[in-house]
Point group: C2
Chain length 459, copies 2
């Protein structure tokens, strides 16, 4: 009898239809939005409580079965791939309750399967919102695990800045609380931030307390075309350096705009553009717009077109969020592969220029989009099916982008995490002594290596 | 031959007068601003480079000598106490160079012995500043080690939010880099935040890259008296919940004001007061002041008196920073003992009211001051010399404050750290499973237990 049938038998009585073993039910768990191909897990359990997660972890530990947590399947580096034979996948989609909104304390406590759109829908009448927005409607557990960020990070910070406390099930099934609901604390090791970004390799996130922010009195979105991508980037750099708290500051190159126009009928000029959003009072936004305009006009900015009505703003950001699908739709049957470097902002112009030059030389269709206010940008490599030469070209460009980022004090991943795809780059970024320390922590917390094996570290 | 004379002999040639062994030279290292009494270290070394710190750590490891890092001696919980026989104290005061100011990237890289005042003096002509302000002129290394915060945290965050990357010497003398200069990263475990607040128990911080912020166009400070401390606290709560980004929001009760008046001749009404500071443009500050006034007038606020001139603002904050000394001066020969709880802001009013009632009943002189915008406040117990009954009363009040904070989801320390004084409280706050995980990490990174032994964890 195999390990997994052993385990399945033990768990079937308790979990019933929430234990999946049929191939058709398992196959969706072998899909993600990244380029990595892998097999489905051996079985999937869908717990509805912390106690059930503990029960699963204890059972898996007894059988020495690998365990992978799964949220919405939106990760991009194979972060939740069941790469090891006999893996138990814990699907958190049914732990999707908002446990408590402490509106006076600007804190919400959620189960890990709550998605960011679900959370903000729930909060809409409280005057509060949760700002971190990676584009995809990811689960909050997944966003914590990959230390996600996104379009609003330039103002509101990443998951790192917005997670107050976690509950985590350890490799031996114990439950650990990592913090309190106080806004700050100097008490003990910062386990909250150790788990934030650990990609489920140190424990299973089963509850999270997150910081909320007040909905701004006024919101103005804007699109702004530029004569050159360099001009758009210089405008961003000047804005950041001036300390203006723009809420969103996204770059789309002309290829990205073309794809969005085709998909979302935006009717935008097919030139490099900034998508902006300002949060504040009518007066404060007017002042910020004025300052930002001054910067942009010096760098070849065209017409800054604002949108204030909710439906117009939503249409704009929906188009931005759907840019990947829009780009993919430009080449039938294409697969997408997304790079994710982040550099100190003074190096952003050069980093984007290098990527742009390499893409042009390669002949690939590869729009550039980025959370440029953070120094973070993506190349969406849209690769024809069955064309290994395209993949090789994309790999070479990605590799050169990472090498340049590391050479200027940047990182190989701003927000997608390491997963399978960036393990070698992580080693180069941090160096052997640092990665050895990470491995020592992994060994201390998961001595049997059961939690999301094969991720973050090269085998 | 004892361990330390062994080590002293080995190191004397290299370090010369930067190796201290004479009792008179060692005794200052047994002093801190906290109430804890302990012996001096066995020897003190004053390295001037990372290589020298590595050399010291390797030598200490060979002799199995405990190692404690020392900055400015301003910690309050015995965090840098050499409690173990034969301790080597590493005094970082001569590693006080500002290595690099990347003004375009809003990043500075410093040696750990740079003090916050030194850093801001150096930055004054760059248009940038480092905001974290614990009051004391602590070293940045010490502020990182204790996860310090202070008066500006309500707007600019604590050390947690402002440390980008560290270099750390490990227990076996290796050098580890924990991050990059990018504003965000999803690459690997967040070692930066593991060391931030670890109080030197996991490694020695030898370099830090910190986030800088733009100096605001305009700064307005203000004092504001209230009919009751409850009214002042309610005003703070309303302001925080409204999302107004006040830069400083400090509470001083009437006893604290009395002490400041005596020491700094402020001439303030001896009533509960808020000390405020607003950063922004003239226009944005005017709007914020208007909103805050509206809140306060509903809660018994008196006259809000603003100060715009630099010297007036500086005098105000100097008085605030000297409040501890001012309070101590009220009782000749007194010792101070400072509590440090932090609660979710909706519980702040009750927490302060309970402390106030207990202080009144005790007959102690114990002003209340706090970074109330964070939900964090301190009771300054000013205790007559040779009066054990006063100490017992203070202990009982402190204990009750911690118990209440933990019962409402708060923490036993907002910013002073655990050190010697809060070890039992930390265990209660985090629970056994969480502290066991911290101990597992400690064991993995410092298996011989050489780094700041006896701190954070109960023996």
């Amino acid at each position: 009898m195999t390990k997994q049938s052993n385990l399945a038998n033990r768990l079937a009585d308790h979990f019933g239809s929430r234990l999946l073993t049929a191939p058709a039910a398992l196959s969706p768990y072998a899909q993600s939005e990244g380029p990595h191909a892998y097999d489905p897990p051996a079985l999937v359990a869908q717990p509805i409580s912390i106690e059930e997660v503990q029960r699963l972890m204890v059972a898996a530990a007894e059988q020495a079965m690998p365990v992978v947590a799964y949220g919405a399947g939106t990760s991009l580096e194979g972060n939740a791939a069941a790469t090891h034979a006999g893996t138990l996948c814990i699907d958190f989609s049914q732990m999707n309750q908002i446990i408590e909104v402490l509106s006076e304390d600007l804190v919400v406590t959620v189960e890990p399967g709550v998605t960011r759109e679900q959370l903000n829908l729930e909060l809409r009448n409280t005057g509060l919102f949760f700002p971190v927005d990676p584009g995809a409607n990811a689960t909050l557990g997944g966003m914590i695990a990959t230390r996600a960020s996104g379009t609003t990070t330039v103002r509101y910070g990443s998951m790192r800045d917005n997670v107050l406390a976690l509950k985590v099930v350890t490799a031996d099934g114990e439950l650990v609380s990592t913090g309190t609901k106080a806004r700050k604390s100097a008490s003990g090791y910062d386990l909250t931030h150790l788990f934030t970004g650990a990609e489920g390799t140190l424990g299973l996130i089963v509850e999270a307390s997150l910081r909320l922010h007040g909905q701004p009195d006024s919101i103005v979105a804007a699109t702004w075309d530029f004569a050159s991508i360099e001009g758009a980037v210089e405008t961003v750099i000047a804005t950041i350096q001036s300390g203006i708290g723009v809420a969103r500051m996204e770059l789309l190159d002309e290829a990205a705009i073309r794809a969005c126009n085709v998909q979302s009928a935006l009717g935008l000029p097919e030139r490099p553009m900034l998508f902006l959003e300002f949060h504040g009072t009518t007066a404060s936004i007017a002042g910020e717009l004025e300052s930002v305009k001054d910067f942009g006009m010096a760098f070849g900015g065209g017409e800054l077109r604002t949108a204030t009505a909710t439906e117009d703003r939503n249409a704009l950001w929906k188009a931005r969020h759907h840019a990947l699908w829009a780009a993919k739709a430009m080449i039938p049957g294409a697969r997408a592969w997304i790079s994710d470097i982040c550099v100190p902002i003074s190096h952003l112009g050069e980093a984007i220029a290098r990527a742009k030059t390499a893409i042009s030389a390669s002949g690939l269709f590869a729009p550039i989009l980025g959370h440029v206010g953070d120094g973070n940008f993506h190349v969406f490599f849209i690769l024809p099916p069955d064309d290994p030469a395209s993949w090789d070209k994309a790999k070479a460009i990605n590799e050169a982008m990472i090498a340049h980022a590391l050479s200027v004090g940047g990182t190989c991943t701003g927000e997608h995490g390491i997963g399978l795809g960036k393990r070698e780059a992580m080693l180069r970024e941090h160096g052997g002594a640092s990665v050895a320390m990470m491995r020592a922590i992994k060994q201390a917390l998961d001595p049997k290596g059961l939690l999301n094996p094969g991720k973050i570290f090269l085998d």
